[in-house]
Subunit: 253 residues, 2 copies
Amino acid sequence: MEPRQGAQAIRRALAVLRILAAGREDGVPLAEVVRTTGLTRPTVHRIVHVLIEEGIVERHERTGRYAIGNQVPELALARPRPSRLLIAANPSLQRASAAIGDTLFLTVRTGNDTLCVDRRIGVYPIQVLSIEVGARRPLGVSSAGVAILAAMPAQEARKIVAANEKRFEAYRTDVATVLGEVTAARRLGYGMREIGLVQGTKSISTWIKTPDGQPAAAMTVSAVRTRLGPRREQEVAEILLREARIIEQAIGG
Amino acid sequence: MEPRQGAQAIRRALAVLRILAAGREDGVPLAEVVRTTGLTRPTVHRIVHVLIEEGIVERHERTGRYAIGNQVPELALARPRPSRLLIAANPSLQRASAAIGDTLFLTVRTGNDTLCVDRRIGVYPIQVLSIEVGARRPLGVSSAGVAILAAMPAQEARKIVAANEKRFEAYRTDVATVLGEVTAARRLGYGMREIGLVQGTKSISTWIKTPDGQPAAAMTVSAVRTRLGPRREQEVAEILLREARIIEQAIGG
DNA sequence: TGGTTCTGTCCATAATATGGACAAGAACGC
DNA sequence: GCGTTCTTGTCCATATTATGGACAGAACCA
């Protein structure tokens, strides 16, 4: 499907950039980039340093870790329109946040990653704030990722999960576990994780599909586990499912 | 100064991306990318299409023009902190905008381009709004660019102007004209263009330097020409110069 | 001290990106 | 209609370019 050739170096540079983006502000050590991309160290080293010269990547003084540079937001300014989805989802996030009281996330798929694009903090005094806007994770490790995978054709989902295999280790999961969760999510109608990425938290995610049936995003509630018992899980899931359908209407029109 | 080799393709891809960023949402035709980068058409074609497959570039349905894709803002989310400069400049822009009443721009240098990063609209009923946040131009074609060039060592400025030679044509200027304006700006203490990029407008720009003497940005006022006669030009320049020094203090601390 | 991480560099080699040449479509003039 | 000039897209032999194995230094720990 993507047989265009003659640009190995560019593709590799982008793969490196995506890993660095997943590391956010803290940056990523070279060795980790080498491990997760599967490229050789001289190659990664060369790519990263060319990107530094070009201002696309920065190196943190103290740690020596590599991170996304300031020229990337500058390039991004050339594309200012906020996405349709963000506008369409806004009222639903507002309503659901008020009704539920716990933290809400809106997450999209980008390549083999999930990317948090919006967050609403609820009124309940204990909030799960571990995930920030811009947070990027391999598809499959969060309940949002599981929901998005559950919403796509099984074969495509398997392909993505396989591609992320190496990266799962860092999140203490593996291909079989993720595929199991995806299957469970399909049965339930929503994604769920009893053990959230942070100890003692629980997450519930619904998927949002585009008119052509592709998953566009996931809407997630994260809370301390004790606040999401079986009964309330049911309630929260119903709210999320209802709002997800409303967002689908909005992006469909 | 930048002798690292082994990544021609990556550098070329970035050069293409920067041209596309300058085109903003409208996009840029392939032929123009070829002309301004000086690369051959097969090469640009290959690069652009690989970037499309990777989601970094998009092609507009109707026009066939190429533009920055949605994955670029997604990568940029990994770097959320707004720049020090933007924070430091905020009160000055506020004050100057109130005092002057015409549109104010804050512009930074990025590579061989100027990039508008902030804009304040004044109270006067006729405002020059042609430049938007995200607008990118070759250094030298706007008064902000002239100011930034005037604030750097003459040799470096000449080098940048020479590098932009090909791109000047599209703005109906040339190396000699730009260098003349830069010299004039050094004498005056601020950048000025009697004929703005839009017919009948006039612009005045002051430069803002970092503690180490490098130009960090330019602050610009644009107005219809009749509103910036010699007397008012003097007044406006004084306000801009004063605020520029205040911003320099703020980023210096 | 030796062992284990990490990062950085060299350079012969193979694989890769290159660009001249060709092709075809679109817009314009007449 | 037909030529002219613009555009974008593709092929493929070639040589330029990116590659990665091997080596080395630095930092940390026992």
